[in-house]
């Protein structure tokens, strides 16, 4: 187990191997930031987060105030109870990992999406169809999150695309730290598509940012129209909703308009596509949306590269003027 961050203490397995190997990765400091330097644990594989080293910076909460106890005084050698302000988000650590992942994706022009839904909504089938539509045009890699088995990763690998299975054991969601490890393994190409299929669960993954550009919620028409109201956190967190299995609508009493209205009631900004992974209906619009997202990420990367080039040119000019 990593003694700095405690990762690998659980039953999480990355592609069948327990996650307790020696490794380097970002550690989050007390102020909630992830400075991105690698701690050596004698590990062999490098972490892709290459940021400059910053020393620990403790916030105001780090002040030692011996007059702050209930008694307002401090007698040497005597303990006294005192309150210490922390004022930090419970998810600060996960959010710092997610922010580091997001920066990593942006710098490389990678479009990362986090697919979330109940079990059985057709996430993997949709992924397979999406990969088939795009694999000639863009490099794709996939992370599959499930409590057990590598069945889903095998389904993805059958399409010829790299896939990594993360088994969360007893865990109910993927977290930012797991994705940082997955990036080390998968090494997604610059300007590629990085798809994360979260554990089938409409509750917990809503709270855990992985560093993705968007959460994509999948709701199938064999579920209830009121699911967005029953599980509002997930539909609020998502940027896109795919209403899947629409080829079955003629055989069901499912009111697709009502389902969309319920989803928009929770999240008016949702982009919604009606699709069928089986028949392929509606997938063209979803694939166009992905292509637009990929173009936007490429643009972001070009901006970063252009910005750095301008800075280098400016520094060279200053150096030449000396």
């Amino acid at each position: 187990m990593c003694t700095v961050c405690g990762c690998g203490a659980g039953e999480t397995k990355v592609a069948g191997e327990a996650r307790d190997e020696a490794h380097e990765h970002v550690h989050v400091h007390d102020d909630g930031t992830a400075p991105g330097h690698a701690h050596e644990h004698g590990g062999a594989h490098a972490h892709p987060h290459g940021h400059e080293h910053r020393h620990h910076e403790h916030g105001v909460a780090g002040d030692l105030d011996y007059g702050a106890g209930p008694a307002g005084v401090h007698a040497p050698g005597m303990s006294q109870a005192r309150m210490v302000r922390i004022e930090q988000d419970i998810l600060a650590r996960n959010n710092a990992y997610a922010a580091a992942n997001r920066r990593w994706f942006d710098e490389r022009g990678i479009l990362a999406l986090n697919l979330v839904s109940s079990p059985g909504s057709g996430k993997t089938a949709l992924l397979v169809r999406t990969i088939e539509s795009l694999k000639g045009k863009v490099a794709i890699s996939v992370v599959e999150g499930d409590q057990q088995t590598s069945n889903d990763a095998e389904r993805i690998r059958a399409t010829g695309v790299a896939a990594l299975q993360i088994n969360t054991g007893k865990g109910c969601h993927l977290d930012g730290h797991m994705i940082a490890h997955a990036l080390e393994r998968l090494k997604p190409a610059d300007e590629s598509l990085f798809l994360i299929e979260n554990v089938g669960n409409l509750v917990c993954p809503a709270a855990f940012d992985l560093g993705e550009q968007h959460k994509v919620a999948i709701l199938s028409v064999t579920e209830g129209e009121d699911k967005p109201l029953k599980y509002p956190d997930m539909f609020r967190a998502a940027g896109v909703l795919l209403l899947n299995k629409c080829d079955l609508l003629p055989y069901l009493e499912f009111d697709a308009d009502l389902a969309e209205a319920n989803a928009r009631r929770v999240n008016p900004k949702l982009t919604i596509f009606r699709v069928s992974a089986t028949s392929g209906d509606g997938l063209a619009a979803w694939v166009s949306w992905l292509e637009a997202g990929l173009a936007a990420q490429r643009g972001k990367r070009a901006e970063t590269v252009d910005g750095l080039r301008r800075r280098v040119a400016e520094l060279e000019r200053q150096l030449a003027a000396r």
Binding site: I86, I90, L91, G171, N267
Partner: protein, 113 residues
């Protein structure tokens, strides 16, 4: 059961602070949990008791400050109380409401000695 992961997040923040302050033990942990956050306070309480066993916070009391939900109505443009993220505006009955408060999940402070 992501309350377990959240309880572990709380314990991490508490342990780091307690270590930095050279505390012998943690007596009280105060959290702020918004009514519109994705946390069930009773489940968190249960998980907290489980994860602190054997740590510096073993036996610490847990105080959860309930932060009411507040939203801004996109129909009438007025602020109002919100009990659910999909709730209707108490003034005009319209949708949707944009939450402006009550989504927090924070460790506010701890009492140590």
């Amino acid at each position: 059961m992501h309350e377990m992961a959240l309880a572990e997040g709380v314990l991490q923040l508490v342990e780091e602070t307690a270590m930095r302050e050279n505390a012998q033990r943690v007596k009280l942990v105060v959290l702020e949990i918004g009514r519109l956050s994705s946390v069930e306070p009773e489940a968190l309480r249960f998980c907290f008791a489980a994860v602190v066993a054997g740590t510096i916070a073993d036996g610490a009391a847990l105080e959860i400050v309930d932060v009411p939900g507040v939203g801004w109505c996109m129909s009438c443009g007025e602020p109002g109380a919100m009990d659910e993220v999909f709730g209707a505006c108490p003034r005009c009955g319209g949708y949707p409401l944009q939450p402006t408060g009550g989504t927090e999940m924070r460790v506010r402070e701890i009492e140590i000695e």
